[in-house]
């Protein structure tokens, strides 16, 4: 990696800042403007996609904290999204809990259940841990489908559109602000986490868990803490989905979803908060773009349009494989390289 030639810090405060150069601030300002302007210019279809991106960002940042930053793989993201969604939906529909309170309880609930299913990580690593979290995925999905008394079983739970400070959240436009406001807070919080000792301890466990223990890190406790924080964010994404979509059904929380989220953080960049954002965006836009493409060629190339679902799967798989082969550190690395290229231009290093 090119070091930041010509970037000097004169205080520890400045060294700890997330952005220091003018270019970084300008990029952030541009991004901010784009996010503000987007809902006014996007078509209804793409506005829906944007909201899905926002929710995916929250979930992907959450999963990345566990898998990319702490090195603990989880195949249970789908089910943890479900825990957040079901908890919040049930609290609102059956117990008349205000939506905001329900979401907070759902986040705490998912953190608790995630931590519980993280217990095997005290003993298991790698593929074995993957199997244990896979078990969590199946157990929870089984509960969603069969524990009718609580979850309504195979029937969907219909959630009324919430009101926020007397403002009805019904349109995609209104939701956009809620979702992106939340996503921005989550991203900022996660970035902060990894410039403090807590996030550093996660990295230490990922890189060398024995050395981490010898440096005084209570590895078991921190692994569970990582599960808790990660699941809390995934639960938040789940709860938001429930209220945004106004419907909760088990089909949205299957193993495919777990894999999709893993794909997001791999494509975006493991162990990078920005990477989670890129990956979530990319993996949400891709199917939407394919879908849009299919709609456009419906009349001219009906054969192609008909095979779209299959093509979509192939493209998905291909993208993941290509990333693993050619950019294993994800879009985050690609972006770094682009930035380095311009910063160092006309030199190569």
């Amino acid at each position: 990696m090119a070091t930041a030639t010509g970037v000097y810090h004169t205080s520890y405060e400045a060294d700890l800042a997330l952005r220091t150069t003018r270019a970084e601030w300008i990029r952030l300002a541009l991004l901010f403007v784009a996010v503000i302007v987007a809902p006014f210019v996007l078509s209804p279809f793409w506005l829906t996609v944007a909201n899905q991106i926002g929710i995916a960002i929250i979930g992907a940042v959450g999963l990345n904290i566990l898998t990319g930053h702490t090195g603990l793989i989880s195949l249970g993201t789908g089910a943890f999204l479900g825990v957040g969604a079901y908890t919040s939906a049930i609290l609102v529909t059956r117990f008349d809990v205000p939506t905001l309170v329900a979401i907070i309880i759902a986040v705490a609930m998912t953190a608790a259940i995630g931590t519980f299913f993280g217990l095997p990580s005290l003993r298991l690593k790698g593929l074995y841990l993957a199997m244990a979290t896979l078990a969590a995925q199946f157990i929870l999905l089984f509960a969603f489908r069969n524990w009718e008394f609580v979850t309504g079983g195979l029937d969907a739970i219909v959630v009324p559109s919430p009101e926020l400070f007397g403002w009805a959240l019904q349109t995609d436009f209104a939701w956009y602000w809620v979702i992106f406001g939340t996503a921005a807070l989550v991203v900022f919080g996660a970035r902060n986490l990894f410039r403090t000792g807590l996030g550093r301890a996660f990295h230490a466990i990922r890189d060398q868990d024995i050395a981490a223990a010898v440096m005084g890190i209570d590895v078991g406790r921190y692994k569970l803490l990582s599960f808790a924080i990660s699941s809390a964010l995934v639960g938040l994404a789940g709860a938001l989905t429930a209220h945004y979509r106004t419907i909760v059904t088990w089909e949205r929380f299957t193993l495919d979803v777990s894999v999709l989220y893993l794909a997001m953080i791999i494509v975006g960049g493991l162990g990078s908060v920005a990477g989670s954002v890129y990956g979530a965006t990319f993996m949400t836009v891709l199917p939407a773009a394919i879908q849009q493409f299919a709609r456009n060629v419906r009349d001219t190339l009906p054969v192609l349009a008909r095979e779209m679902p299959a093509i979509q799967l192939v493209v998905f798989g291909l993208v993941i494989v290509l990333f693993l082969l050619f950019e294993p550190r994800g879009l985050d690395r690609t972006w770094q390289r682009v930035k380095d290229f311009f910063r160092l231009w006309p030199f190569r290093y």
Binding site: A213, V214, M215, G271
Partner: protein, 277 residues
């Protein structure tokens, strides 16, 4: 050298020369292999205590027992701190680190994917308070803590002369520098006892001299007790106050360098083996 340090790198409050680390009758076996056969020795505060012996003698195993990575089948290890004594053989590694035992590894075990600075800051882990909320907020207590602890870390960076690689990713650094960073990480813990497992292995003469100077400085100026495993006899005889010799898990002798050097049993066990190979 007359350098003033703003931070005291020594985590021990014992008087110089007081018994600090007591290894008492420790036996460690792996199946049929006896890595440590009833080893007893005492490390005194302020000493550089070398542990030598041929390959497979059990030196690393002894350090692993002290830092809680291995659990001996028999005997115990105590760390004295003021009036109290912590029993290391019953504690987890993270707890032992909190009591002030820091170490480096024979095969470098740094955190490879983060920067030198972050590696060293991890040495401060036990001295920092960690709160999820404050971390998420960052501005306020979390940032103040980062900056406060950064000051000691920068002092260690200056001390070990690794300013230039501060922001480099550890994995990309040359071997000799990595070894130095690993010692630095242990120093940032402000250890009461510093365990170094072959800190000069694989280095050229110049790098070895630098490392020997660092170890002497840490010991002399800061007063940190050092337990040193080293194969280079010249270095060992030069810098250590006490030498213990292990062979096949058995302790042959413990004493000042010149006595150990003259001990016939040591010559056959250790030096004899070297001549044979």
């Amino acid at each position: 050298m007359t350098r003033q340090y703003r931070h005291n790198l020594n985590g021990s409050t014992l008087d110089k020369g007081a018994p600090q680390l007591e290894v008492d009758d420790v036996r460690l076996r792996f199946g049929g292999v006896t890595a440590l056969a009833d080893v007893s020795l005492t490390v005194h505060q302020g000493d550089i205590h070398a542990i030598i012996g041929p390959n497979g003698a059990g030196k690393t195993s002894l350090l692993n027992c002290i830092s809680g990575l291995y659990r001996p089948q028999k005997g115990h290890i105590k760390l004295h701190e003021g009036e109290a004594a912590h029993v290391l053989t019953r504690a987890r590694p993270s707890r032992i680190a909190r009591w002030g035992v820091a170490r480096s590894f024979q095969n470098i075990e740094l955190f490879k994917h983060i920067s030198v600075l972050d590696n060293l800051m991890l040495g401060r882990h036990v001295h920092m308070r960690h709160s999820v909320w404050q971390s998420f907020l960052f501005f306020g207590p979390a940032r103040r803590r980062e900056i406060a602890h950064r000051e000691l870390v920068e002092e260690v960076i200056d001390f070990l002369e690794i300013q230039a690689v501060r922001n480099a990713h550890v994995g990309a650094l040359p071997y000799g520098i990595q070894k130095r960073v690993e010692v630095g990480r242990a120093l940032c813990l402000q250890p009461a006892v510093l365990l170094l497992d072959e800190p000069m292995a694989g280095m050229n003469t110049e790098e070895k001299e630098d490392m020997a100077r660092f170890i002497l400085d840490v010991n002399d100026l800061a007063g940190v007790t050092v337990v040193l495993i080293e194969h280079d006899m010249e270095v060992v005889m030069d810098i250590s106050d006490v030498v213990s010799v292990l062979d096949f898990g058995r302790q042959i002798t413990t004493g000042p360098p010149h006595e150990v050097k003259a001990n016939p049993e040591v010559i056959t066990a250790y030096l004899g083996e070297e001549q044979a190979s």
